[in-house]
C-alpha cells in the first residue's frame, strides 16, 4: 500500500480564487490583518476550487508518547463553523490528534508536541510551549466517547464551566444554562428537573447534557470523540442532528469510526492511517470519489 509521508499535496495554502459567502473581505484586506487566512483545496483540475475560512490551521504536527511518535507531520485546515470529521481504522491516531486541540495529553507525563495548531483570529498556537493548556481548554470544548456528566444536578453540570470562570450571579447563570440546554436540544426534557441528579438521565440525554455543558462557555471549537459509540441508534440520530445544527455557532471537529456518520454530519473529512494524514477533502468528495487508493479501500470496507 502506498502512503504519503509528505504533507498531502491536496492541501495547499493559496490566495483564494473566489470568495465564499462566509467572507466579504478583499484578499488585500485579509492579508493585512491577523484574521483567518483562506485555504483552497485543489484536488484535481476538473474540480472547481472552493475556499474555506480557517478556524485553526494544523501545520506539520508531530506528537510523541515518550519515544513513540504517534502523529506524523499532520497538516490540515479546520474550517470555521463547519463540521470536520476524522476517520480511520482504530489506532490510526485520530483520537490522539483530537486531544491535541485541547491539550488533554498534558495530563499525562512524557508526552510532547511538535509543530503548530494556529487558532484564528488571534493566531494562538494551541500546542505552543508557552501556551497554557487550561486557557486552551477554556476556549475549546470537548465531548467524550462515554457520557461523563458529573455526579451533580443537571443545572450544576451545565453551570460548571461558568462557575469555574467565577460567575456567581444566579440570574445570569440560569439564563446561560437555559441557553446551553436549548442549544443542546435538551431543554424541553430537562426544564422541570434541573435539580435532579444528572446520573438519572438516559445515555443519550447524558451525552446531550455533556454537549450543553461544553456549549455553556461558548467554545470556539467543539471536539467530539466518538460521541455516539456508547449510544443506541435513536439517541445517535438525535446527537447527529444536533451536531448538524451546531455548525451555525461553533466549529466542530468529530472523531468517528462510523463512516456513515462521517458522511452524514461532516462538511470536510480527513482520513488518517497509523498517525499519518492520507487524505483531506470535502466530505462529498471523500465519500464518493476519493483520490487515494487507501481511502477508497477503507471506505469500501476493505480493512479497519
Amino acid at each position: 500500500m502506498q502512503r504519503t509521508t509528505e504533507a498531502p499535496s491536496a492541501v495547499r495554502a493559496t490566495r483564494p480564487a473566489e470568495e465564499t459567502a462566509l467572507s466579504k473581505e478583499s484578499p488585500a484586506n485579509a492579508k493585512s490583518t491577523s484574521g483567518a487566512p483562506r485555504i483552497s483545496i485543489a484536488v484535481d483540475d476538473t474540480r472547481q476550487v472552493r475556499t474555506l475560512n480557517v478556524k485553526a490551521a494544523v501545520d506539520n504536527v508531530n506528537f510523541y508518547y515518550g519515544e513513540h511518535r504517534a502523529l506524523k507531520n499532520l497538516t490540515i485546515p479546520i474550517a470555521d463553523r463547519q463540521v470536520t470529521a476524522l476517520i480511520g481504522p482504530s489506532g490510526c491516531g485520530k483520537s490522539t490528534f483530537l486531544r491535541c486541540f485541547n491539550r488533554m495529553h498534558d495530563l499525562q507525563p512524557g508526552t510532547r508536541y511538535e509543530g503548530s495548531i494556529t487558532l484564528h483570529p488571534d493566531n494562538l498556537n494551541l500546542i505552543g510551549p508557552g501556551v497554557d493548556p487550561i486557557e486552551v481548554r477554556m476556549r475549546i470544548g470537548m465531548v467524550f466517547q462515554k457520557p461523563n456528566p458529573f455526579p451533580k444536578s443537571i443545572f450544576e453540570n451545565v453551570a460548571y464551566g461558568l462557575r469555574l470562570r467565577g460567575l456567581r450571579n444566579r440570574a445570569t447563570l440560569a439564563e446561560e444554562v437555559e441557553k446551553a440546554l436549548r442549544g443542546a436540544a435538551l431543554w424541553d426534557e430537562a426544564k422541570d428537573r434541573l435539580q435532579d441528579s444528572a446520573l438519572a438521565l438516559s445515555g443519550g440525554q447524558m451525552q446531550r447534557l455533556c454537549i450543553a455543558r461544553a456549549l455553556a462557555t461558548k467554545p470556539e471549537i467543539l471536539l467530539f470523540d466518538e460521541p455516539t459509540s456508547a449510544l443506541d441508534p435513536i439517541a445517535t440520530a438525535k446527537i447527529e442532528e444536533l451536531i448538524s445544527t451546531l455548525r451555525d455557532q461553533v466549529t466542530v471537529l468529530i472523531v468517528t469510526h462510523n463512516m456513515q456518520q462521517a458522511a452524514r454530519v461532516s462538511d470536510y473529512t480527513a482520513f488518517m492511517y497509523i498517525g499519518e494524514l492520507i487524505e483531506f477533502d470535502e466530505a462529498a468528495k471523500i465519500f464518493t470519489n476519493p483520490s487515494k487508493k487507501a481511502t477508497e479501500d477503507y471506505i469500501t470496507g476493505r480493512y479497519g
Partner: protein
C-alpha cells in the same frame, strides 16, 4: 479425603473470627450483667458522677462519655483537614514517584506505639501548649486530642485517597476539558464524587479516636470530669479501664464489673461508627 480435612481446618480458622466476636460480646454482656444488677440504667445514663471505687459510689457514665467525645472532637479537628488535604494532594497533584515514596513513610505515623505518643503528648505537646496558655494544667484533653489527631492522619488520608482514586478518569477529563485547574477539578468533581468514601474515612477515624487508650491515659489525667472543655483534665472510657486495671481489684467486685460496663458502652459507640463507615466504604466501591 485429605482435601476434605484441609477444608475443614481452613473453615475452622475462619470461624475463629466469628468466635472472637461472639466471645467479646458474650464476655462484655456477662460481666456487665452483674454490674447492672447493682446499677439501674437510669442511674448509669443520668448520674453526672463516675466514682465506682469511692466510698460514696456514683455510677454515671456521662463524665467518661464526655471525656471521650471531647478528645475525639479535638482529634478530628486536627485529622480531618490535614488528612483530607494530604489525600487530595497525593491523589490529584503528586507525581507518581512522590506518592509511592511518601505514602509508606506517612503510614509510619500510624505505626508509632501509642504509649510513645502518650509520652510525646505529656512531655512535649503539653509544655508547648502551656507556653501559649500558661494556665493550662499538666494533664489536659487538648494535648491528648491533638496527638491522637496526628496519629489518625495517615488513616484518614489513606482511606480518602483510595476513595478519590476510585473516581473514574473520564470524570476528571470532563472537568479538565472545561478548563478547570487541578484544584478546581479536585474540589468540585473528585471530592463530591468520592463523598461517601471521605465520610467513611472520617467515621472510621472517629472510631479510632474513640477507642484510643494510652495517649489519654498518660496525658489527659484519669479523673472522671463532666466537661466538654478540652483544656481541662478528664478521663475517657478507655482511660478508666486502664486505671482500674492498674489497681488490684477483686474478680467479681463491682469495680471489676464496672470496666466491662464501660467497655460495653465503648464497644457500642465504635460498633455504630464502624457499621456506618464500612457501609459507606462499600457504597463508594460500588458507585463506579
Amino acid at each position: 479425603m485429605r482435601d476434605r480435612v484441609v477444608e475443614i481446618l481452613l473453615l475452622a480458622s475462619g470461624l475463629v473470627a466469628v468466635f472472637t466476636t461472639l466471645a467479646i460480646v458474650g464476655v462484655l454482656l456477662f460481666e456487665s450483667g452483674g454490674f447492672f444488677e447493682h446499677v439501674t440504667l437510669k442511674e448509669f445514663f443520668t448520674d453526672t458522677m463516675w466514682t465506682p471505687l469511692f466510698a460514696d459510689a456514683h455510677y454515671g457514665i456521662m463524665p467518661l462519655v464526655a471525656g471521650t467525645l471531647t478528645t475525639t472532637v479535638v482529634a478530628l479537628v486536627v485529622a480531618v483537614p490535614l488528612g483530607t488535604t494530604i489525600a487530595i494532594y497525593l491523589s490529584e497533584f503528586a507525581p507518581h514517584n512522590v506518592r509511592e515514596t511518601v505514602k509508606p513513610i506517612l503510614e509510619l505515623l500510624g505505626a508509632v506505639p501509642t504509649v510513645v505518643y502518650g509520652y510525646f503528648a505529656l512531655t512535649m505537646v503539653t509544655p508547648l501548649l502551656q507556653y501559649f496558655m500558661p494556665e493550662l494544667p499538666g494533664f489536659n484533653m487538648l494535648s491528648a486530642g491533638l496527638v491522637i489527631g496526628l496519629m489518625i492522619v495517615p488513616y484518614i488520608s489513606s482511606v480518602s485517597e483510595d476513595a478519590m482514586r476510585a473516581v473514574p478518569r473520564y470524570m476528571r477529563e470532563g472537568s479538565y476539558a472545561m478548563g478547570a485547574t487541578r484544584l478546581q477539578t479536585a474540589l468540585r468533581v473528585v471530592v463530591p464524587g468520592a463523598f461517601s468514601g471521605l465520610a467513611a474515612a472520617f467515621i472510621l477515624g472517629i472510631s479510632r479516636a474513640v477507642g484510643e487508650t494510652m495517649v489519654v491515659a498518660i496525658a489527659a489525667g484519669m479523673q472522671p470530669n463532666l466537661t466538654f472543655d478540652p483544656r481541662e483534665p478528664a478521663a475517657t472510657i478507655t482511660a478508666y479501664i486502664v486505671q482500674v486495671s492498674l489497681g488490684d481489684l477483686a474478680h467479681g467486685s463491682i469495680g471489676y464489673q464496672s470496666i466491662f460496663a464501660a467497655g460495653l458502652v465503648l464497644m457500642a459507640i465504635t460498633l455504630m461508627f464502624n457499621v456506618i463507615g464500612f457501609g459507606l466504604t462499600r457504597k463508594f466501591r460500588e458507585a463506579y
